[in-house]
Symmetry: C2
Subunit: 243 residues, 2 copies
C-alpha cells in the first residue's frame, strides 16, 4: 500500500527534470532491478507485487497491488518489481582502455543498445554529449537489460574532451577509411554521431582518424543504424588481430 | 478522397490474415515507398496528402486528406505517403553466396533491422522459419527503411532446407567457437535463433559449425540481442581476411 503522492513522485521520475532535481531514477522489471541491486548503485526504495522478490533485500521495500504498480510504471505491462535508485556520481575516465563517446545520440533504444554493447565488449566508460538522450530515461533503461550497472556513463561537453585527449581519437564517418585496414591502438576514444546528422562539424575538426564500415559490394546513400555501426566497430576494436 | 471501405481495407492489411488473403501489404513514408517504387515490387495503389509526391508515378494514385491518411496508417504521425503493394513471389535461393536463415525471430524491430543489415552486407537471400514474424508487418517494414526492396525473403520450413543444404551450414550459439578463429567459406548458410531460446533443438542437430561472439574479458550469462549478433557475424563474413 502506497499513498498517492508517492505514486505521483515515481511517475514524475519519468521526466528528466524531476530526475535531476531529486537525484533519483526508476528501474523496472526483475532483470534490471536485480542487476542494479547487485551493483554499486544505491537503492532508495523497491516496490513489488510479489513479497518473495522483496524478502532479504538490503533496502527499503514496499508491497504494492498490481494496480498501484501499473500507476507507477512507464510500461504497459509492468513486470512485478520497480526500484527507485540514486543516480550515481560519474567516475573519472580511465584512458588505459578504449572509451566510447556519443555525440547527440537521440533515440532511447539506440542508447540502451549501445550501453548493452559496451557491457558485452568490456567498454567500461561511455561519454555522452549533453545533447544525447538521458541514460536514466525509462526507455533507455529497458533496452539496457541491466547492463547499465556495469558501465560508467559521463555526460560532458565533448569538444574540450577530444582536444585534450591523452589517447588517439577515432570517429565513425560514412566516408571514413575502411576499419578493416586500420591497426587500431590498444587504447583510444571512438566517437559515434547522431542518427541523422552523424558527428557534428565542430567536433569533426578534432577527429583525425576517420573510420567507416564499407558497404559490401559498392557504395550507396544508405547508412547503418548507429547501434549496428557501434556493434560492428566495438567488435573490430576487440577482435584478436591474429585470426 | 477515398471511401470508408477502402480505408477499412487498408487498415485490415495491418493484420497478416488479410495480407495473406489479398496478397497485398502496406508501406508507409517517403523513404520506404520510394525505395519500393524503384524496385521490382509492383504497386497496387499509392495515397498521399501531397500531390507532388504522386505526379509522374506509374501507378494508380489518390490524394487523401491528412485525416484520411491517419485513418489508414499504422503510425501515430503518418509521413505524407502510403503505398499498397503486391506481395512478391519469393525467388529461388542462390547458394553461390551466403544466405541468412532466421529461426523464429519474433520481434518486428529485430527482423526489420536484420533485413537492413542484409542489404548493407549484400546478403541477397533471407530465409525465415514459419515462426518468424511476418516481414510485411508494418513495424518490420518501418524498421527496414526500404531495404526490403533489395532482399529476397522466403518463408519455409528450415529442417528440410538445412538437411538438404548444398553448402556448409553455420549457426550462432552462445557456446559456439569464437568466430574470429574460423576460416569461413565464400558461401554458406548462417542460422540465427529466437531472441529468448536461440536456435531450436531440432534444428541444432543439423548444424555442425557452431560459432559465437566471445564476450570480451570473460564469460557471462548475458547475451547479445539477435540483431546485434547478426550485425557482427555478417561483418565477420564480409570483412576481408587480409587486414
Amino acid at each position: 500500500m502506497v499513498v498517492k503522492s508517492e505514486i505521483k513522485h515515481i511517475r514524475n521520475l519519468q521526466q528528466k527534470k524531476y530526475r535531476t532535481q531529486s537525484g533519483l531514477f526508476v528501474a523496472e522489471g526483475i532483470k534490471t532491478v536485480s542487476e542494479l541491486l547487485k551493483s554499486p548503485f544505491n537503492p532508495y526504495k523497491i516496490y513489488s507485487t510479489d513479497e518473495s522478490l522483496l524478502s532479504g533485500l538490503l533496502a527499503e521495500t514496499a508491497m504494492v497491488s498490481p494496480a498501484e504498480l501499473k500507476q507507477m510504471s512507464s510500461q504497459q505491462t509492468p513486470n512485478k518489481i520497480l526500484g527507485v535508485f540514486y543516480i550515481p556520481e560519474a567516475r573519472a575516465l580511465d584512458f588505459s582502455d578504449w572509451i566510447l563517446v556519443l555525440d547527440s545520440v537521440g533515440d532511447p533504444g539506440n542508447l540502451g543498445t549501445i550501453i548493452r554493447l559496451c557491457d558485452w565488449f568490456g567498454i567500461r566508460h561511455l561519454v555522452c554529449s549533453p545533447g544525447t538522450v538521458d541514460c536514466y530515461n525509462p526507455k533507455v533503461l529497458q533496452a539496457t537489460m541491466g547492463s547499465i550497472a556495469r558501465v560508467n556513463i559521463v555526460y560532458q561537453d565533448l569538444e574540450e574532451l577530444l582536444v585534450q585527449a591523452p589517447v588517439p581519437v577515432y570517429g565513425a564517418f560514412m566516408e571514413g577509411l575502411p576499419v578493416y585496414g586500420q591497426s587500431l591502438p590498444p587504447a583510444g576514444m571512438l566517437v559515434m554521431g547522431n542518427e541523422a546528422r552523424g558527428i557534428s562539424r565542430a567536433l569533426s575538426e578534432s577527429i583525425i582518424n576517420r573510420i567507416g564500415i564499407p558497404q559490401y559490394g559498392g557504395s550507396s546513400t544508405e547508412s547503418l543504424n548507429v547501434a549496428m555501426a557501434t556493434a560492428i566497430l566495438l567488435n573490430e576494436l576487440r577482435r584478436p588481430t591474429q585470426t
